[in-house]
Symmetry: C2
Subunit: 353 residues, 2 copies
């Protein structure tokens, strides 16, 4: 099993699979302190909201074990450690949520010294990690029930073990199907501009010995038309109460192609991805990223230096194009404003905590 975030208790360090070096090199980043952990999050050596949350939780443990902090007053040192890690990625919901859970556990335990707080924090960090993996396994089992022996499915971006504490959401469906002994193939969209499909998903599926074939994003259409794809599964960054799904740019075109050709289109995501406070897709602000992500690949210029670029990170897929949403609470189908609340209770949303 691929483990992107591992706390090595013997050596007292956090070991991260360096996602900036994949697939060319498989390297482990060893974080000895909270500062090392913060740098790894900022530098995107660990990425994916759930994986970042787990890494930050262990980063707090490292901070509490760091002898340099022991010369300071416990309460203010603990606060500084948490603030340092919270400042790494401003928009990752799981990051703040994981830090808040550690803080709450330390407060509940009444810890007021570094050693006892570190023990409580480590226990809670392990729990967050285990919960995330278990949630992915549940999603995987539900999703695998939709994949038939002999199928070929397609996925986009990386909703895999590398983005979570392990196992993955969309890729969890493939892991579970393989564990059930099903035979199937997967087409992987390379996912421009940052190539999470070719760099991460292709690597991850090869590690699991899942039969994977890489394509450019614009090749999915003719595969679907030629009846060479029996299902599509993607992850989600945010899902509204009425079932609009924000996910990596390129998701919406796949959903339209699937609808036009009668192929089922699935979204795999935990209940924490639902934002029940908003209803429609246009309430989701789409982040526009650096234009040079499109003009350059790995420092190499592939377009005129001064050509204007439009580079949205996400698109929104409306519910009428989604066959089902595979969650840890069950398979939501069909996607209507009435069906989602049957599975997703507002107080179960991570945002509500």
């Amino acid at each position: 099993m691929i483990e992107s975030v591992v706390f090595n208790k013997e050596k007292g360090r956090l070991e991260l699979l360096d996602q900036t070096r994949l697939p060319v090199e498989t390297c482990i980043v060893n974080c000895q302190t909270e500062h090392d952990t913060a740098m790894a999050i900022v530098g995107m050596q660990v990425r994916g909201a759930p994986a970042i949350g787990v890494a930050a939780a262990y980063g707090i443990v490292l901070g509490l074990n760091n002898p340099q902090n022991h010369e300071k007053i416990f309460a203010s040192a603990f606060e500084s450690i948490c603030d340092l890690l919270a400042a790494t990625r401003p928009t990752a919901v799981n990051l703040f949520w994981a830090i808040a859970r550690i803080k709450e556990a330390v407060a509940c335990a009444g810890s007021s010294d570094f050693a006892s707080a570190a023990a409580v924090a480590l226990h809670k960090a392990d729990e967050i990690r285990a919960e995330d993996i278990e949630m992915c396994r549940t999603i995987g089992r539900y999703g695998a029930s939709l994949l038939k022996d002999g199928d070929t499915w397609l996925t986009h971006c990386n909703a895999g073990a590398l983005a979570t504490a392990g196992y993955g959401t969309a890729l969890g469906v493939f892991r579970a199907a393989q564990e059930q002994g099903k035979k199937f193939k997967v087409f992987v969209d390379e996912t421009r501009p940052l190539l999470q499909g070719s760099r991460l998903t292709a690597w991850e599926l090869m590690q699991e010995k899942i039969d994977a074939t890489l394509i450019c994003d614009n090749m999915a259409g003719s595969l679907i038309r030629d009846d060479r794809v029996q299902g599509i599964v993607v992850g989600a960054d945010r899902i509204t109460a009425h079932g609009f799904v924000a996910n990596k740019i390129g998701t919406y075109p796949l959903a339209v192609l699937a609808k036009y050709n009668g192929v089922p289109f699935y979204v795999a995501a935990p209940d924490s991805t639902f934002d029940m406070s908003i209803k429609y897709g246009d309430e989701i602000k789409i982040e526009e990223r650096d234009q040079d992500e499109v003009r350059y690949i790995g420092g190499q210029q592939i377009a005129p230096k001064d050509i204007p670029v439009y580079n949205p990170a996400f698109d929104v897929t409306p519910p009428e194009l989604i066959t089902a949403i595979i969650t840890n609470k069950g398979i939501i189908r069909p996607i209507y404003r009435d069906t989602i609340p049957e599975f997703i209770k507002p107080d179960q949303c991570r945002e509500a905590k």
Copy 2:
């Protein structure tokens, strides 16, 4: 005006805009002999079927002017020159067609010495080039009638001056609209894997001072959904008698997205692109190209070395997704088996000659 293929009569050489160096550098390849010309075609310094045909025609002129050949018997030397150029790109229809026209002109003129044959060949090569530009201008004028002031259109790959003797087919529509004083914007698909959109079309439109914005192929969907595109125009590699269009991979998904969102989808191509000998899309063999085109960009590895890749060069768009085909004979609309023969006569097809 961008001129990809120019015969410099004063200096007796063929000047090609080096398309392998764009957009990073704007270089001219000077061909002094038929061998230089053949190497430039093989090395894809000149690309696009019409541009290759014109380059080969001038390559014959250079061969007939080459003093080294004057020591040989005229007829066999002429045949060798033509064979050399015909062997450069095995599937480019315009290449064989251009060479055949030069041969026919030399035979008709009864030329039996190098000097007179060179004069006849040069005249015919100029004619082929002028015809190609005029054909593109006609397509451009027809297409521009469909583009409204204030529109934003989208294009894929490079069906421009760089692919033809000048002016282009799909990009000819934009040139003509600009000449008519219309104000409009263009989104350019980067066109993975070989990036003809970001490398060539983006550069070409900037040269013409047309307002162009570059996107990744998978970003077109959300632009279309958000009502930010009023028309799509692409070129074609081959069109069947019933209106199935083979074009650069990624064309079919655009056509589906356009249909789903009620945006007109146009194909711009000369009558010579129609192959009236076939009816349906599945009669067109789709070339699969080198897997490393997807695994590497400019020598840089972007995927696991050993991940299997599916890399089709073209896809097929069925007639029901095409609003109109813009040809030099007029605008064909709607696209049915009955409408195409009204515009395209079998004996006008280049293939039939």
